[in-house]
């Protein structure tokens, strides 16, 4: 059921470029007394490109003498699978976990504490990316990679409508949409009613908090006017689209709609263009990307930073070996390589240069520093279980309800979920 949540992380990279293998590091240290052991790592489908996997496996075996086994996980039912696995005698030693899910798992006691690791290799992890790994002041996971949304646009449609400059502000973007609309050949932007992570980004942009503490308990803060402000921006986007108001960007897959060439743009992950190209190879030459423009040219729109962390199971008997793996996988060399191969945002700003030549990644990077996530509280996971009340709120507003009334409508469900016993 967490499929959508994790999907938003955009782990899957279809833009595979050639792996550049750096110099040989970890030379001479040799096998470290882990001979004969096997470390199991759960990675989500799409997170581990072949080149990277092979190189990491080789480096790991060389350094530790142990074997590394990646087990690729499907999205369907992953949460049940992970929770139950953590209760077992032989949990996966290391696993990929969505950044927003990390607090919920941290409070269960299922994740090993990683303060030592943060000290030794995490000094310059990007602040906004590391935040979700910290719970109650302690480090429970390590940021692996992230992705955020950009505007994916059809150059031909923009050009035919007379839009020649890439929009730098929100106003310019809407002006461009107006032109496309006037041209009448294409839907200016495909924006279904429940692209909730885009909306989350907008609330980060307006500085809104989705929850607040009241009497020691977390409750809905949807009624906040700042949330309404974000929703107004969203509504403006949606007004240019005929997409269903009660569906998210995955049904139908927005990239496939875009692939038909009758849509000016959509807000999505860079890798989604791969989906479009698969559906219609001819679209490839027309696809372009730019950073979602904000209020002013110097500050991009707020974005949701979907990210993946790596965590170690508290129940794993190979704590030390698992740390060795993290040190290798998260080293500058392999972070850089992953970033290159997947086109994802690496965990350090200094490594962002690896995105050079990847237009989608380059468009995404500027927004990272001002990005954010969903509220980092264990209770949050329950909110996003379908049907996500915030999606319900969005559809209600788009169907004509006022912001205040829609917020009120879902508040009960929202609060109920936040109050669930942990």
């Amino acid at each position: 059921m967490k499929r959508k949540l994790i999907a938003a992380i955009g782990a899957a990279g279809l833009l595979v470029s050639v792996a550049a293998c750096g110099s040989d590091d970890g030379k001479g240290s040799g096998a470290d007394g882990f001979q004969g052991e096997t470390l199991t790592v759960w990675a989500m489908d799409g997170s581990t490109p072949d080149g990277w996997t092979k190189d990491v496996e080789a480096a790991f075996e060389k350094k530790t003498g142990a074997e590394l086994k990646f087990e690729i996980q499907q999205w369907n039912g992953i949460q049940q699978k992970l929770t139950t696995a953590l209760s077992e005698e032989n949990p996966p030693d290391v696993f990929e976990i969505g950044n927003t899910q990390t607090p919920a798992y941290a409070q269960t006691g299922g994740l090993a504490e990683l303060d030592d690791l943060k000290k030794s290799i995490g000094a310059d992890w990007t602040e906004t990316l590391n935040a979700p790994s910290v719970y109650d002041g302690k480090q429970y996971a390590a940021p692996w990679f992230a992705a955020n949304r950009v505007v994916v646009y059809n150059k031909k449609v923009f050009k035919e409508a007379g839009v020649t400059e890439i929009p730098k502000t929100r106003a310019e973007l809407f002006a461009a949409f107006d032109k496309i609309k006037a041209e009448g050949k294409a839907e200016p932007v495909y924006m279904p009613g429940q692209n909730w992570y885009f909306f989350d980004g907008l609330t980060i942009g307006t500085g809104a908090d989705l929850v607040k503490k009241k009497g020691g308990k977390w409750v809905s803060n949807l009624a906040d006017p700042k949330v309404g402000e974000a929703m107004e921006i969203y509504q403006k986007y949606a007004s240019y689209s005929t997409a269903p108001k009660d569906k998210d960007e995955a049904t139908p897959q927005q990239a496939e709609v875009f692939a038909k060439g009758k849509v000016g743009a959509f807000i999505g992950m860079g890798w989604e263009s791969g989906v479009a190209i698969k559906a219609n190879p001819k679209i490839e030459k027309d696809i372009g990307y730019f950073t979602i423009p904000g209020e002013s040219a110097d500050k991009p729109e707020g974005v949701f930073l979907g990210g993946s962390n790596l965590a170690i199971a508290a129940g794993s008997e190979k704590q030390e070996l698992a740390r060795e793996f993290l040190k290798i996988a998260l080293s500058d060399k392999f972070e850089g390589q992953l970033s290159k191969e997947l086109g994802v945002i690496p965990n350090k700003e200094s490594l962002q240069e690896n995105l050079k030549g990847q237009p989608a990644g380059e468009a995404a990077a500027p927004a990272v520093a001002a990005g954010g996530t969903t509220p980092l509280i264990p209770e949050w996971a329950a909110v996003e279980n379908p049907p996500n009340p915030i999606k319900t709120y969005m559809t209600a507003v788009l169907n004509g309800k006022s912001h205040a009334a829609a917020a009120r409508q879902v508040e009960g469900e929202f609060n109920k979920r936040l109050a669930q016993k942990q």
Binding site: A7, D45, G46, N76, G77, K81, T84, Q253, K260, A279
Partner: protein
């Protein structure tokens, strides 16, 4: 004079035509979704997401099947699914038949109670009992094994199997058995020689239900068997509806491959099964 006759013949022609016409319409209605699954599986992606449906896969392609079959561990999953399904069905047939024989043919204290108990067992909502089953299997240290799957799937289909077989056994005239016994057969011998052959259609039709149930089970295998080597095909189908979006081509190809064994089994068995089912069902 001729008028009424022509009217009558028209009416009778109509009477002859409408059942056939209706049958054709019904046939189309029942078959279309199945057809569409196969048709989609053979079409290139561009024809699948088309403004106007492409009714026949003109640009025939095996691309989606290749995607589906080359997924990791495909053949392991096939083997597991077949093993688990066949064993579960066989066990339930054997155990069910023994009990069915007792319930249909013998008179003993508590008989009614047993029948009702098995009817109740039929109501178990397995999907929501999965967590309890998981804890039992986990604590018994039997995760990632095909054994728990086999026995629980067997249990899922046992009540239906048993009750239906009871009907079949009951429908076989008692005298047949008795005359065999008069001829010097013992009761077990009479059973094997006389009843079992007559039961063949019943066994087949009952097993169909078991096949479908075991073949489809998803929630239990998902959390019981996390290692890829111990998983089954339903987990594989869901692979193609992922972050990449629903890959309808591959999904339909996978669904087709998934459905084919059952479809064939049905078409193969339906003749005998149908005649058999009645006996069972009528007796109920």
């Amino acid at each position: 004079m001729s008028r009424p006759r022509s009217a009558a013949s028209k009416a009778s022609a109509l009477r002859r035509v409408w059942p056939n016409a209706l049958a054709v319409v019904l046939f189309a209605g029942f078959v279309f979704p199945v057809y569409w699954m196969f048709a989609t599986a053979f079409k290139p992606t561009g024809d699948i997401v088309a403004e106007d449906p492409v009714w026949f896969p003109v640009d025939f392609t095996f691309e989606h099947f290749r995607t589906a079959v080359t997924a990791d561990n495909f053949w392991t999953l096939v083997r597991n699914s077949v093993t688990v399904t066949v064993l579960a069905v066989l066990f339930s047939l054997v155990i069910g038949l023994l009990a069915a024989f007792a319930l249909a043919r013998m008179r003993f204290r508590g008989r009614r109670g047993f029948i009702v108990a098995f009817m109740l067992a039929q109501m178990a909502p397995w999907e929501v009992m999965v967590i309890a089953i998981y804890l039992i299997v986990r604590d018994a240290d039997m995760l990632n094994s095909l054994i728990p799957l086999t026995v629980f799937y067997m249990m899922m289909v046992l009540p239906f199997t048993l009750l239906t077989l009871r009907g079949f056994v009951g429908a076989i005239p008692k005298d047949l058995e008795e005359s065999a016994m008069v001829d010097g057969c013992s009761r077990p011998q009479a059973f094997v020689k006389v009843i079992l052959p007559l039961l063949a259609p019943g066994l087949m039709s009952t097993s169909l239900f078991g096949f479908i149930t075991a073949w489809n089970e998803f929630p239990m295998v998902l959390i019981l068997n996390k290692q890829a080597e111990a998983q089954t095909l339903p987990l594989w189908i869901s692979k193609f509806q992922t972050v990449f979006g629903d890959d309808w081509g591959a999904t339909m190809a996978a669904s087709s491959l998934f459905a084919v064994p059952i479809l064939l089994l049905f078409l193969f068995l339906q003749r005998k099964a149908v005649s058999g089912l009645t006996a069972g069902a009528v007796k109920g």
